[in-house]
């Protein structure tokens, strides 16, 4: 028998054992080298930053949403997603007015964004549900991030927020400073009526008095070139298609000729509101009928469901909701629109009436219309 062919000698076993023990011990040390690497904790700040940019600097997009329950069926497009009632038409959230106005948010988009509930209701496709709807449209990514998005408008006591209260110690965070655009409004009071001859120069005593307001859409969208400022910057623009238009008429009693008719009238009613539009290519005014929900009236300080005639004491406010003149409702978004209010007063006398004067022009003149103001705000996004 060969003397050096003893592969299983005790010495071999001893040497092999020592080697294997050392090898096993070192192999168990290897996982400790990998302890410092952790993917998720670096991620949250990046996601928060991205969400902050999407909300503050992007106008959002209307379009199809893949996945249940929408399955990519939608024909919507454009950036006015806040007017769409079905959330399956909203592909991405974004609060900026347009991509050329970063950090300037649209008040209507803000209101719509913060309209949410917890959990999904399959019957309700207007209110957004936390967290899935926001994950699909603002947070993105495969991991189901939880989040809290808060907006504080300086000067208002309320903080708008969506999401859970922050509980973890480890979360990603970003804070953006933004400005929120308000809406414009016009106030026609006794002074305006007097200086422009809305009724005071009428020498005729009439029963039906018509007051006309003009919304020259082409001028509003294109800005005034003759004024000191060119208003084509979307942050200051009055856009009838997506902004709220508010017309306040006050001190109506003082438009009467109180020297002749000292007593309060027997009856004074708002009997009708009619809309006309001079469609392009025509020289006459066409009758248009906006949806019944596009506007509402506040008469004498109280909200009146549109049941006319309604008695008027002193004030009428006409509020058009955002989207009342949007391309979906308005056939010709560059044509001037005339809104006529008809007042019936008995006994017949002077009243707010501009049939002999110019229609009240809702434009960029700060004397006519209080221009949209920008308010400061703080937007905070926390993701975990």
């Amino acid at each position: 028998m060969n003397e050096d062919s003893a592969n299983l000698s005790v010495d071999f076993l001893a040497g092999f054992t020592i080697f294997i023990i050392a090898f096993i011990w070192v192999a168990t040390m290897i996982p400790s080298l990998l302890i410092g690497l952790n993917a998720y904790s670096i991620d949250y700040n990046a996601v928060a930053y991205r969400t902050g940019v999407i909300l503050a600097e992007d106008p959002g997009a209307a379009g199809p949403v893949p996945g249940a329950p929408c399955f990519g069926i939608s024909s919507a497009s454009g950036t006015s997603w806040e007017t769409l009632p079905d959330k399956c038409d909203i592909a991405r959230f974004g609060l900026a007015i347009s991509k050329n106005t970063p950090n300037i948010l649209d008040g209507n988009k803000v209101e719509r964004f913060f309209c949410w509930t917890v959990g999904a209701d399959p019957n309700n496709r207007t209110t957004f549900s936390y967290p899935t709807d926001y994950q699909e449209r603002a947070i993105f990514g495969d991991y189901p991030y939880l989040f809290n998005i808060s907006l504080n408008i300086v000067g208002e006591n309320q903080v708008l927020s969506v999401g859970d209260v922050i509980q973890n110690a480890d979360y990603g965070y970003i804070r953006r400073d933004v400005m929120i655009k308000g809406s414009s409004n016009a106030t026609i009071d006794a002074l305006v009526a007097k200086t422009r001859g809305y009724g005071y120069n009428n020498t005729e005593n009439v029963t039906l008095n018509q007051f006309s307001i003009e919304l020259n859409q082409a001028e509003l969208q294109g800005g005034i070139t003759a004024s000191p400022h060119e208003i084509d910057y979307p942050a200051y623009q009055i856009d009838p298609g997506s902004d709220s238009i508010i017309i306040n008429i006050t001190n109506l009693n003082q438009t009467r000729n109180q020297l002749v008719f000292g007593n309060f009238p027997n009856s004074c009613n708002l009997v009708g509101i009619t809309f006309y539009e001079q469609l392009s290519g025509t020289t006459y005014l066409s009758n248009i009928t906006p949806a019944i929900t596009a506007y509402y009236l506040i008469i004498n300080g109280t909200y009146t469901p549109s049941a006319l005639p309604a008695m008027v004491n002193d004030s009428v406010s006409l509020v058009f909701k955002p989207g009342a003149f949007s391309p979906a409702e308005d056939a010709d978004p560059s044509a001037p629109v005339f809104i006529n209010l008809t007042f019936a007063i008995s006994p017949p006398q002077q009243y707010l009436n501009n049939t002999l004067a110019q229609p009240f022009d809702y434009n960029y003149d700060p004397v006519n219309v209080t221009q949209p103001q920008l308010q400061n705000g703080v937007l905070e996004v926390a993701v975990w």
């Binding site: 001893a14 040497g15 090898f23 930053y49 400005m179 910057y233 937007l379």
Partner: protein, 167 residues
């Protein structure tokens, strides 16, 4: 029968074990794993916040007004700048203010049209002593002003520069 045959195996086994242990020791002592970029994240957050605040100050609140930052630069009004910027940058959605400090100045081109000078500062909440980890943001402003070594009142572009740090 005990003899020295086969001891080579033992010796080689011990030698191999020693090699592995020595290399493991060298490796573990040499590799240092640390989470990168922690300072960069807070820098980025501060930079975004500071720039946003400057952009907001450079936007007029309505179509007829001038932007507040332009008015501040034209009048060299450091006090208004300090109050406004402090307010905007330290505002939060929850109650209580943040504690971000800043130091701001305005850079303009001297009358020789070639060199740049920085004015004495616009305002600061506290002097930079050197231990702070500050970020630098800037904003372009178009304004009319006359600076100490310039002799004409004309339209000029200036750079409002701010250093921001967190206490």
């Amino acid at each position: 029968m005990v003899n020295t045959r086969g001891q080579l195996y033992t010796i080689e086994g011990v030698a191999a074990a020693l090699i592995i242990l020595a290399s493991a020791y060298v490796v573990v002592n040499a590799t240092s794993i640390y989470t990168p970029g922690d300072t960069h994240i807070s820098d980025m957050q501060l930079e975004v916040l500071g720039s946003d605040a400057l952009v907001m100050m450079n936007t007029a609140p309505n179509s007829t007004a001038e932007s507040p930052l332009q008015t501040i630069v034209e009048k060299s009004d450091g006090i208004t700048f300090g109050q406004m910027y402090n307010n905007i940058v330290n505002n939060r959605t929850e109650t209580g203010q943040d504690s971000i400090q800043f130091m701001a100045n305005v850079s303009y081109v001297k009358s020789d049209e070639k060199t740049v000078n920085s004015t004495t500062l616009l305002n600061m909440t506290r002097a930079l002593v050197g231990g702070e980890h500050a970020v630098h943001v800037s904003q372009w402003v178009l304004a009319k002003n006359r600076y100490p070594d310039s002799d004409s009142l004309r339209n000029r572009t200036v750079l409002v520069e701010v250093f921001l740090w967190r206490d």
